[in-house]
Assembly symmetry: C2
Homo-oligomer: 561 residues x 2
């Protein structure tokens, strides 16, 4: 029985509700609801932004689904990137739902579920492109698309109100490494039949023209590798199996053995090989032990760490802090991945350190060693023209991307009033062939910090920010409950605030200010320690600000004894 | 009398010592030393990097100059950017030295000195291009260069060992806004005479071709402005007087009045107008009061805040949190400045908020509304070919820029062994026409935090980082000195760590663990509180890590009573 409260906004029709990914990059999750049925497309996470201090991961708030748990029929996964599958282990702890996706996508998910001891508890349904899955009143066809991960699919969701095309992340690579083309024919077929709405990836809407084919990177490898006299290190995302394939192929052509490095690289390559997505000649792989005896011109390391993550092997190699691998002049490092916004400084530091070691470095800003997995403007127009949707909803993007994608749709003929720019929590409702933004539901971000899910909120983050800027000063005073007399202290302890290196005099002055304050207060009659604490805080805040222009967190502790 | 210790490395010849700016962007400061004379070129600051939590500014460590204060003859300023003049107020508090620079450069410096109550105490010597200043054994000619600030100069430093060309920041703009061309003739003249060493700006060495002329931005303004139906807001660096000039000119041509916004914008425009570097027709300026009555198509605001600084007017306008200015559909914002690395996320947020307000936004990634002030590869080659230096020292750049600039010099004919890649603190020594890196001296970075100069070091920053990640837990216990009995507590206070929202049970459990620990210790005989504190820290660290996987700073406070 479904005991969820009746929905005020549920006035029939098809309701599409973005729970993440609209107005932000990452956290992709979309609910489709009609009558008593809800299906969900993707369930992604986001890596924390700089202001989310100490946070490990961010997942979407699924309050809307939790309250309607009995109606949710399953989760469809478009592809295996973290921003589309990463929240699954958390969401599946609350909602027990079957999953539908292609073999590699589910292979990556299975690995993830193992880590959370959820493997046996989740129903995994492998689908192939052009397979159709029926869930309640919805039937969903998976459509092959190319992207920076293999085995990606778009979804054609047949609903009682019409067909919705949900692209997921895609590009239209005319020469994909595995020959698996974006299935233009199926998109066209739906276009002929009539599409109620197209929901399309907006990530690269600011880029003109076409996104380069993944093969371009293989060509760049084939140009760079033969000229290298020392070791070659290729850093890439471990999920980018085609990238790994091309690096392996280039290594083999130059007579180099391949060392895989990084936990996720080793795991993902194993999954991809097992499922037949990655071909490696016998004997091409080597290990750290054999590496010691190989001439350096026979070595190619394929590793994670392309974002300059300080704990990665690559960062340690760059800092000359790796036990087995010491870089020398003549070695080459290829950062075959995007500079993710927010990581530019860390990556730049990594590159500088690699140059200090004498290595040559190739990266996306100076060489074609990376291409995007997302469609540029001409591909987005092509998708619009193939599907000829009645309505258009830009997805996967920050707000400006959504606005620009809506404008692009208008340029290829979708009327402005049928381009719906929605953000997370908006209810996009379709009924009788008409679409509108019909209201909003609860949505948001949930922070994961260690084992805590959602317990760290804005107040804690604000405190962490405050602590990070000027540290903390704790003032401890013990007071005789009866007489109001100070019997201990003030004792002062600080962290991240400078007393240690300062003169004893400054510390003494601080204590004196507190004592003078207390002497002037009629503590006996106050009966309210909160007020004393507030006064201590106020007077010290003023003192520190005047003397040293710093604003530490001030924490008065008063012991009544 | 100079009482500085004898220099171990002072074995004659010319010594060039970078105290900042080599191996980093910012902090530019270079000492030239020969015999008993030292002169300094530039004295810049750096804005803090993300890991420098709570730090306001960074300046170079001038220990080397401090110990030789009696020999320093003066500071030459190439131009008025913060990364070349920003450390002056701090350095001049320690070293009383005459300054030499062009009118605008000194105009900006004078404003800065006023803020620090140093105005009357510093000797400011205005020079014009081609003027020669003699300081000890050095004579220095100022040479006009174009850059993203007006009135910039390179230096030709005549030393007993030969002439050194110190470019400062430069580009070779063939059509500068004020017609003041980079003085190619003078560079050529020195090339004919013979140049011992060229020290040249490496900032843009990774860019091929030529940097676009500043005029391109004016052309972009003239294309965008007439199409705008609402308000226009141009955000730019306040020191970029030519940029401001071009925005004013474009506004005037469209019949718009100009509102200057931002403290430094108002100040710098005033200085530039007073010195004749900026021409504004009578009556073009307006104020916030008049603005309320102007039709929006007659408004052009020129403002700071292009980096998304959260306290700036522009950020407040974007957040719809500005009293006088509310953006509407049809308004246009032009971010006419660089996305400074590290600020991408903040700027991206700003742009998204502006789109939410309905504004159209132009910025350097989508339109030619910004050009760099630094020479690209072809200009750098031109500088090398004009001066034909015997030695080449790349300056102003991260390590990879220096390496790449040295390679570029080799491609235009400087032998590899005469390209000296040095970093801060290296002593570049020239004697008898030969150059080498002859040793190192004390150098580094000094952090400014509030009024504190250099008191915040790596330990404090490490504490702040730790605090920022998982907050802080203070454990307070009072113990009877005689009996070792716990007479109060443990009391537990936290910030940035979650107890508040957790169950009381978790807090009680934490207290119990501490009490159990104390009960098991023979406190009387310990006599050493340090050990008790250490144990409390150890046991709680383990407990928090196991239960919630967080690692707060744990601060035990033990009161002996």
């Amino acid at each position: 029985m479904d005991t969820a409260p009746a929905d005020i906004t549920d006035n029939g029709g098809l309701r599409i509700i973005p729970l993440g990914g609209l107005g932000e990059i990452g956290l992709n999750m979309m609910a489709y609801e009609h009558g008593e049925d809800i299906i969900v497309a993707d369930c992604g996470l986001m890596f924390p932004e700089p202001q989310m201090l100490g946070i490990d991961l961010v997942i979407p708030d699924i309050a809307y689904l939790r309250e309607r748990a009995g109606r949710v029929r399953g989760i469809l996964l478009t592809h295996g990137h973290e921003d589309h599958i990463g929240a699954l282990p958390y969401v599946l702890q609350e909602l027990s739902l079957p999953l539908y996706g292609t073999a590699l996508t589910l292979g990556f998910i299975r690995e993830k579920l193992k880590e959370f001891d959820l493997e046996g508890e989740v129903e995994l349904n492998v689908v192939k492109p052009r397979d159709v899955v029926t869930l309640g009143c919805f039937s969903v066809e998976f459509i092959r698309v190319s992207h920076s991960i293999v085995d990606g699919c778009a979804l054609a969701i047949r609903t009682p109100e019409g067909v919705v095309i949900h692209t997921g992340d895609f590009k239209i690579d005319q020469t994909p490494v595995d020959g698996e083309l974006t299935d233009l024919a199926t998109f066209s077929r739906y276009g002929d039949e009539g599409v109620l709405a197209l929901l399309a990836d907006s990530t690269n809407v600011e880029r003109e023209g076409y996104t380069l084919s993944e093969r371009v990177v293989g060509e760049a490898f084939d140009e760079i590798f033969p000229r290298c006299e020392g070791r070659i290190i290729v850093a890439a995302f471990s999920s980018n199996i085609h990238r790994v394939q091309q690096a392996v192929d280039a290594a083999v052509r130059c007579g180099r053995k391949v060392l895989l490095n990084g936990r996720s690289m080793v795991a993902n390559v194993a999954i991809a090989r097992q499922l037949g997505y990655l071909r490696m000649p016998e004997g091409v792989l080597t290990d750290l032990k054999e590496l010691q005896h190989l001439p350096k011109e026979q070595v190619c390391m394929i590793t994670t760490g392309s974002q300059g993550e300080p704990m990665s092997s690559l960062a340690r190699i760059a800092m000359d802090d790796h036990k087995q691998i010491k870089l020398e002049a003549g070695d080459t490092v290829i950062l075959s991945s995007r500079f993710i916004p927010g990581n530019e400084k860390t990556i730049s530091d990594l590159i500088n350190h690699l140059y200090r070691r004498g290595a040559e470095v190739f990266h996306e800003k100076v060489s074609e060693v990376h291409v995007s997995g997302h469609a540029s403007q001409e591909e987005l127009k092509l998708m619009l023209n193939l599907t000829r949707p009645r309505h258009f909803v830009p997805v996967h993007g920050e707000y400006r991307h959504l606005v620009k994608h809506a404008r692009l749709a208008q340029r290829v003929g979708v009327p402005a009033e049928r381009c719906l720019v929605a953000v997370n929590g908006d209810v996009i409702r379709f009924a009788d062939g008409r679409g509108e933004i019909a209201g909003t539901v609860e949505s948001g971000r949930v922070y994961i910090d260690g084992k805590g899910i959602g317990d760290v909120g804005e107040v804690v983050l604000k405190d962490r920010k405050h602590l990070s800027e000027d540290g903390m000063v704790v003032v401890i005073i013990a007071i005789n409950q009866a007489s109001g007399e100070v019997i201990y202290g003030p004792d002062i302890v600080s962290r991240g605030f400078v007393f240690e290196d300062e003169s004893q005099q400054y510390l003494d002055e601080t204590k004196k200010i507190v004592l003078d304050l207390l002497a002037g207060m009629n503590i006996e009659t106050l009966g309210e320690w909160g007020e004393v604490k507030q006064e201590v805080r106020r007077i010290l805040r003023r003192f520190f600000n005047k003397t040293i222009e710093r604003r530490p967190v001030i924490l008065p502790v008063i012991l009544e004894m």
